[in-house]
Structure formats: structure tokens, C-alpha cells
């Protein structure tokens, strides 16, 4: 037991030195998380705010202006009044506006007669954005239509019709801003990056150069080698986590309703999963280029695209959902978002932590198995 401890301590010290000696390791461990925090916090936004929309008023009557009044004061779109469709189409071709609302010349006459038409064209090059703009403009114009109908109806003495209004409450994201879920999601990305990518790369290098075989002839056991590899990268990952938590709190004012203890504990659990995954990848590929590519493709890209970070997993085809649910990142993403925005939801915490624990144990066993095999 004593031998185990002294061997582990000296091996870990060697790993730490190796890690700190090369500036590029620090670049990925510290610089990249900081850059990502700034990009995610300030640069990325999925919110549609002040989207420019051309409003072509071929009918300049007060009635027509009243109909589009609902578009003027909205935070979602910023209407640009134009006289001709030609100008609007030119702006659209140059992608200067996201959509065109066209009020035709006979609008007020047709409105009185009960068959007015308004044309709405959206720029489909960003489908998500276009859908939001389409829904918003349609909603605002429909309300104007109903108001006009009531006016026509009152004049004709028709009975009032009942209607349903919606009062909408956004739980967990009162500010309705994508920053609130992008920044917690970033913790998952950084853990994956440091854990899987950096670890895979460093370990693969030892395989490729044969320095790992050199270690095998010393009295150290594979478990000790693995532990000594895990500890430094675990430390770098925790540093990344600290940076994320501090900036989430003080830079972007993202609330954290769950307890910090659970956040830190579950992050540690996921970090072990990510590091073990990196170790497995490097032991299987034993080549730096392959290891980096596999780590990128098996861990980083899917945790960005398939973990529910950007796209809701409930709404993707079954096959993709299955792939998403195979990724440990999906469970951590679910957990961290809930912990930040909803609070300590224990059934969800137990379930996801149990799954992550299973992944951690399983991957560590696999890592041990593939590392031991090479000894003979």
C-alpha cells in the first residue's frame, strides 16, 4: 500500500510537470474556456430582437397604418417603412431585411368589404429566425383583423363572440434570453473538451512515442498510470468549472436555483466520465491524429449538437434521439440546466447522477482493460 502511494504521488507529479511545461496545454485548459465563456455569454444569441422587416405601404391611408401599428412598438421586429415593393425586394436580396410585409394599394377598400389581403414574405436562409418572425407578424396582423371585424360587426349589430386569450408564463427563464441556457450548457462543453479531448491527445502521444511502454517495464501498475493521468486533467477541468461558475454568476448574472454542492458534485462525476472516455479513445487509437479526430467526433461535436444543448431532443427523429441518449453529455446537460434554472429536482438529480456514475464505472473498467492488455 505504501508503495502504491509513493508511486502514485511521483507519477502524478510527473504528469503535472508534463502538463504545465507545454504552453499549448494551458491554452486549451485555461485560455480556451475563457474565450468560450466570452463568446457564449456575449456572442451567441438565438433571440430574435429588432429584426429588420420591410413594410411596403402601397396604401398610405390611416386604416392601413392602423393595421400595421402592432408591428411598430415590438421588441421582436424593427419595421422599415418603404414605398415600393421593388426597393423591399432589393433589400431582401442583399439580406438587409429578414422579411417583407406588403400592404396592397386597395387595402382599405378591401378591408371595408371584408376581404383584405396582406402579403408576408420571410427570408428562409435562417429557418428558425424566419419562423419566429412569421409567427410574430401573423399574430400582430390577425389581432388588427379581429379588431376591424368587431368594428364591422358592431356597425351591423351582430352579437359579440366569445374568445380565448392566452396568458403566458415562462418558467425558469423569466428574462427569456438564450444566454441563460447557453452559459450553463457551456460547462458541459468545457468539461468535455478538457476531459476527453485533452486527455485523449496527451495519452495518445505517449502511446505513439512509446513512452508508455517504457512506463510498463517499471514497477507501476496500470491502475496507477491511469490514476496519475486522471488527476491532473481532473484538476484542469475543475479550474475550467470554477471559471464558468464565476462568470455565470458575476458576468452574466445567470441565476443558480439549485445548490452549488450538487452542481460541483455532478460536474466532478461527469468530468470523470469525460476523462475516462479520453483514456479509452487514446488507448484504442494509439495515434495522436486519430485520437484527436475520434475525440472530436465522438465527444465534442455530439455534445454540442445532440445533447439537447441547442436542439430539443424530444423533437428529433427516433434514431437521432437514441444516439443522443447514448451520450453521457445528454444526462449532464439535462442535469446542469435544471440545477441552474429550476432548482434541486431530486428525482431528476438521482436518475441522471446514477446514469453518469454507471458511465464512469463502466468507462474506467474499459480503460483499465485496454491499458492492461498492452502489457503482454
Amino acid at each position: 500500500m505504501n508503495g502504491f502511494r509513493s508511486r502514485l504521488v511521483s507519477l502524478t507529479r510527473k504528469e503535472f510537470r508534463q502538463l504545465l511545461r507545454d504552453r499549448s496545454n494551458l491554452a486549451i485548459g485555461i485560455l480556451l474556456p475563457m474565450v468560450l465563456i466570452l463568446i457564449f455569454g456575449y456572442g451567441m444569441s438565438l433571440d430574435v430582437k429588432n429584426a429588420p422587416v420591410a413594410v411596403v405601404m402601397e396604401d398610405a391611408s390611416p386604416t392601413a397604418h392602423e393595421a400595421i401599428a402592432g408591428l411598430q412598438l415590438s421588441p421582436t421586429i424593427a419595421p422599415i417603412l418603404l414605398g415600393s415593393m421593388h426597393d423591399a425586394e432589393a433589400l431582401m436580396q442583399e439580406r438587409k431585411v429578414d422579411g417583407i410585409v406588403r400592404v396592397p394599394a386597395d387595402f382599405s377598400r378591401a378591408l371595408a368589404a371584408g376581404n383584405a389581403r396582406v402579403q408576408l414574405i420571410v427570408h428562409g436562409s435562417d429557418a428558425g429566425r424566419a419562423s419566429i418572425i412569421k409567427a410574430y407578424v401573423s399574430g400582430a396582423l390577425a389581432q388588427a383583423g379581429v379588431r376591424q371585424a368587431d368594428r364591422n360587426g358592431n356597425a351591423a349589430g351582430a352579437p359579440p363572440a366569445g374568445s380565448v386569450a392566452i396568458e403566458q408564463r415562462m418558467w425558469f427563464n423569466a428574462a427569456n434570453t438564450s444566454t441563460w441556457y447557453l452559459v450553463p450548457g457551456l460547462i458541459v462543453l468545457i468539461m468535455t473538451l478538457v476531459g476527453a479531448f485533452l486527455t485523449a491527445l496527451v495519452m495518445a502521444r505517449e502511446w505513439e512515442r512509446g513512452t508508455l511502454e517504457a512506463l510498463f517495464v517499471t514497477p507501476v501498475r496500470p491502475v496507477e498510470i491511469l490514476l496519475a493521468k486522471i488527476i491532473p486533467y481532473f484538476a484542469v477541468g475543475m479550474l475550467g468549472l470554477t471559471l464558468c461558475l464565476l462568470s455565470a454568476r458575476y458576468l452574466f448574472a445567470v441565476p443558480m436555483y439549485g445548490s452549488l454542492l450538487v452542481v460541483v458534485f455532478s460536474s466532478m462525476l461527469y468530468l470523470i466520465v469525460a476523462v475516462s472516455l479520453g483514456l479509452v479513445i487514446s488507448s484504442v487509437t494509439r495515434n495522436q491524429f486519430l485520437a484527436s479526430q475520434v475525440a472530436l467526433i465522438a465527444t465534442f461535436m455530439p455534445s454540442m449538437m445532440l445533447s439537447g444543448f441547442l436542439f430539443d431532443l424530444r423533437n428529433v427523429p427516433t434514431a437521432v434521439r437514441v444516439v443522443g441518449h447514448l451520450l453521457p453529455a445528454t444526462y449532464f446537460m439535462d442535469l446542469i440546466k435544471t440545477l441552474f434554472l429550476a432548482g434541486d429536482v431530486w428525482p431528476l438529480i438521482w436518475r441522471n447522477c446514477a446514469i453518469l456514475l454507471a458511465y464512469a464505472v463502466g468507462l474506467l473498467l474499459v480503460a483499465r482493460a485496454v491499458t492492461r492488455k498492452s502489457l503482454d
Binding site: 499549448s24 491554452a27 486549451i28 485560455l31 480556451l32 468560450l36 463568446i39 456572442g43 451567441m44 438565438l46 430582437k49 431582401m92 436580396q93 378591401a110 378591408l111 368589404a113 383584405a116 389581403r117 420571410v122 436562409s125 429557418a127 424566419a130 419562423s131 419566429i132 412569421k134 409567427a135 407578424v137 383583423g145 376591424q148 371585424a149 351591423a156 352579437p159 359579440p160 363572440a161 366569445g162 374568445s163 380565448v164 386569450a165 392566452i166 408564463r169 425558469f172 427563464n173 427569456n176 441556457y181 473538451l193 495522436q288 484527436s292 472530436l296 467526433i297 449538437m305 439537447g308 441547442l310 430539443d312 424530444r314 423533437n315 427523429p317 437521432v320 444516439v323 439535462d334 435544471t338
Partner: protein
């Protein structure tokens, strides 16, 4: 001149052999591009197809059943729970059983039959504010249709205003249509840049680069010989993703292949230039890869692939001017979806050419003047 070309051709041949001789490397250059374009093509969608919801009907007399029938008939909304009291809302939302809860007030029917406006509550799980926003939009559209029906039944005049909406370039507003053309550029850059970053660094690490330097080849020739093979690899990868977009997802291409490939050649050369410069600065493969990666992440995130450039703060928008991927994605999307010609997108080629004109000579210079 013949010698010059011969030397370059030989170096290219050697480089291609290095890249392609290992079956695992060959596989990693083809399989991920195909796999990712398929998986992300299906997975990357902001459209809602399955929204689980819970109902809290305080009117308790089934008056709301008509409205609910409208909701269920969309095929998007599925009721997963029927709640008894407001206290139950928290649990179904917290545990993610339901994305939204619809609360019908006790006086729903009375108010409607009296010709008044009744207010229903819509409680959304906004842990992902984007999904919640879309779901809210879907519910309002359903409620609007229901209101129109109520008016018709009450004999009130229908709305005199009809909105005819259309979407240019992407008639059904499918996210996939924007994403796949973007990935033609993004996915190939991911691998070409890493591949190039390794090419010089590998020879440095193995000591063969010094041997290359003492051959009769000039730094210019080495640079061209090192740059051409990854450009080819990058173009092949782009073509693979293009084929997936065209023939698997059947996204119609509006523009010309010639324009598309002109843009892609400029873009791939610029990416390779960046990769070679990284490679020339790095002391070993590990450094090269880490530097490449540190650079790749911001390039991908600030390219407009996942979130629009226009939503970024001004300072970051300026920073994207140095990002080749930003211009490539703009160019590919516009040529692919909008069908514009070179006359419209030529301005995207200038920054790409500038990036290539800086990075390639820099790499060639760095071959001889080592910084490390």
C-alpha cells in the same frame, strides 16, 4: 520550370501517401463527414414535432374539450397528464414530463357563452427558451383557429384580413436546409485544418523536416507541395457532404456548381494556409493540434452556422472579418439556396484571398526561420 513542377508533384505524392497509407486515417477522413452530415441533418431541428403537455381543467365540465381537441388534432401535442390542482403543476414541469401546462379557468364556459374573453394560462418550461418560445407560438396558432370558429358560430363577421405568407429560398422553413449547406464548409474545415496543422509538425517531431529543408526544394515549393494535398482532401470532403445534401436530404440546389466550387477552393486554400502557419509555429504534433483546436472553436462558433452573426455585439462582428468560415458559409448558403452568381457573392472571396495571401507566405517563411 519543369523541375519546379516535378519537385512539387513528387512532394504532393509523398504527402498524399502519408495521409492515405493508413486505413484508419483513410476511414477517419470519409466516415465522420458522412456520419455527421446525416446525424446533424436529422438532429438539428428547431421545428417541434412532439410536445408533451399536461392539462389542468378547473372548469371540470368538459367545455374546454373542443379547444383541447383542436390541440390534439395537430399531432404535435400529446397529453401526458391530467392535473387536479395548481400544486401539481410544479412536479410535471420540474421533472420534464411536460413541456407545458394548460390551465383552463373555472368560468371558461360562462365567459365564452356570454361573449366575453376568457383567459387561459400557459405555463412553459423555458429551460430552453427557444423551444418554449416555439411551443407558445404553436399554441397561439391553435387558439387563434379556435377563436375564428367561435366567431363563425356566433354569427360575428369573420376577420376581414387574410395574411398570405411565403418564405423565400426555403419554402417549408426547415432548419436542415440552412444547416447542411453550412456544413459543406464547416465540417471540411474542421478536418483539413487539423490535417494541415499536423503535416509539418509531424515531420518536425520525427526529424524528417530538416531532411526536407536540405533537399533542392525551395520553401515555396515545400509550401505548395504541403498545401495541395490537404486542399484536395478538403474539397473531396465538401463534395461528400454536398452529395448527402443533394441526394439524401434532397435539398434542391439553386445555384451553379462552378460558383460553389470557386468559393470552396478559395476557402479551402485559406483554411490550409491557417493550418500550415499553425504547423510551422508548433514544436510538435501535440502543440499543433491544441493550437489548431483553440482556434477552430471560436471560428466555428462565430461563423453564423448555429447562431446568426447579426445577433452578435458589434466588436465580435468586427472580429468575424478574420474568420474564413464566416464568408464561406455566407457564400455556400447563398449560392446553394438563393442561387446567386459570382457577381453577388464575389465580395466573400476577397477576405478569403487575403487570408490565404497572408498565411501561406508566412508558413513558407516560418519553415526556414523557426521560432521554436
Amino acid at each position: 520550370m519543369i523541375d519546379f513542377l516535378m519537385r512539387i508533384a513528387n512532394l504532393c505524392r509523398k504527402e498524399l501517401l502519408t495521409i492515405l497509407k493508413d486505413p484508419a486515417t483513410r476511414a477517419i477522413l470519409v466516415a465522420p463527414a458522412l456520419l455527421q452530415s446525416l446525424v446533424f441533418g436529422y438532429g438539428a431541428t428547431y421545428d417541434l414535432t412532439n410536445v408533451p403537455y399536461a392539462l389542468l381543467d378547473q372548469s371540470r365540465n368538459g367545455a374546454s374539450s373542443e379547444l383541447i381537441a383542436h390541440l390534439d388534432s395537430t399531432g404535435v401535442f400529446h397529453r401526458v397528464a391530467t392535473l387536479r390542482s395548481q400544486a401539481d403543476i410544479r412536479e410535471v414541469i420540474d421533472t420534464e414530463q411536460a413541456l407545458l401546462v394548460l390551465q383552463i379557468p373555472a368560468n371558461f364556459e360562462q365567459q365564452l357563452s356570454a361573449g366575453q374573453t376568457t383567459t387561459i394560462q400557459l405555463i412553459l418550461d423555458a429551460r430552453n427558451s427557444n423551444t418554449a418560445g416555439s411551443a407558445a407560438g404553436y399554441v397561439s396558432a391553435v387558439v387563434e383557429r379556435y377563436n375564428a370558429e367561435l366567431r363563425a358560430r356566433a354569427g360575428a363577421p369573420p376577420s376581414p384580413l387574410v395574411i398570405e405568407s411565403r418564405a423565400w429560398f426555403n419554402p417549408n422553413l426547415e432548419t436542415r436546409w440552412n444547416l447542411l449547406p453550412g456544413m459543406i464548409a464547416a465540417l471540411s474545415m474542421l478536418q483539413t485544418l487539423l490535417l494541415t496543422a499536423l503535416s509539418v509538425a509531424r515531420e518536425r517531431e520525427q526529424g524528417t523536416f530538416d531532411q526536407l529543408l536540405v533537399t533542392p526544394m525551395s520553401p515555396l515549393e515545400i509550401m505548395i507541395g504541403k498545401a495541395l494535398p490537404p486542399v484536395l482532401v478538403g474539397l473531396v470532403q465538401s463534395s461528400l457532404i454536398l452529395l448527402v445534401a443533394l441526394f439524401w436530404f434532397r435539398i434542391p440546389m439553386a445555384g451553379s456548381l462552378l460558383t460553389l466550387y470557386t468559393g470552396l477552393v478559395f476557402f479551402t486554400v485559406a483554411s490550409v494556409g491557417i493550418g500550415l502557419s499553425i504547423s510551422a509555429v508548433s514544436a510538435n504534433m501535440q502543440q499543433a493540434m491544441l493550437y489548431a483546436f483553440v482556434l477552430l472553436m471560436p471560428l466555428m462558433l462565430l461563423s453564423g452556422l448555429t447562431t446568426p452573426v447579426r445577433n452578435m455585439p458589434h466588436a465580435l462582428q468586427v472580429a468575424t472579418l478574420a474568420n474564413p468560415l464566416r464568408f464561406a458559409i455566407d457564400l455556400v448558403q447563398r449560392v446553394y439556396l438563393e442561387g446567386v452568381g459570382l457577381g453577388t457573392v464575389w465580395h466573400n472571396l476577397i477576405p478569403l484571398a487575403v487570408i490565404a495571401a497572408i498565411t501561406l507566405p508566412l508558413a513558407a517563411w516560418l519553415f526556414r526561420n523557426r521560432l521554436v
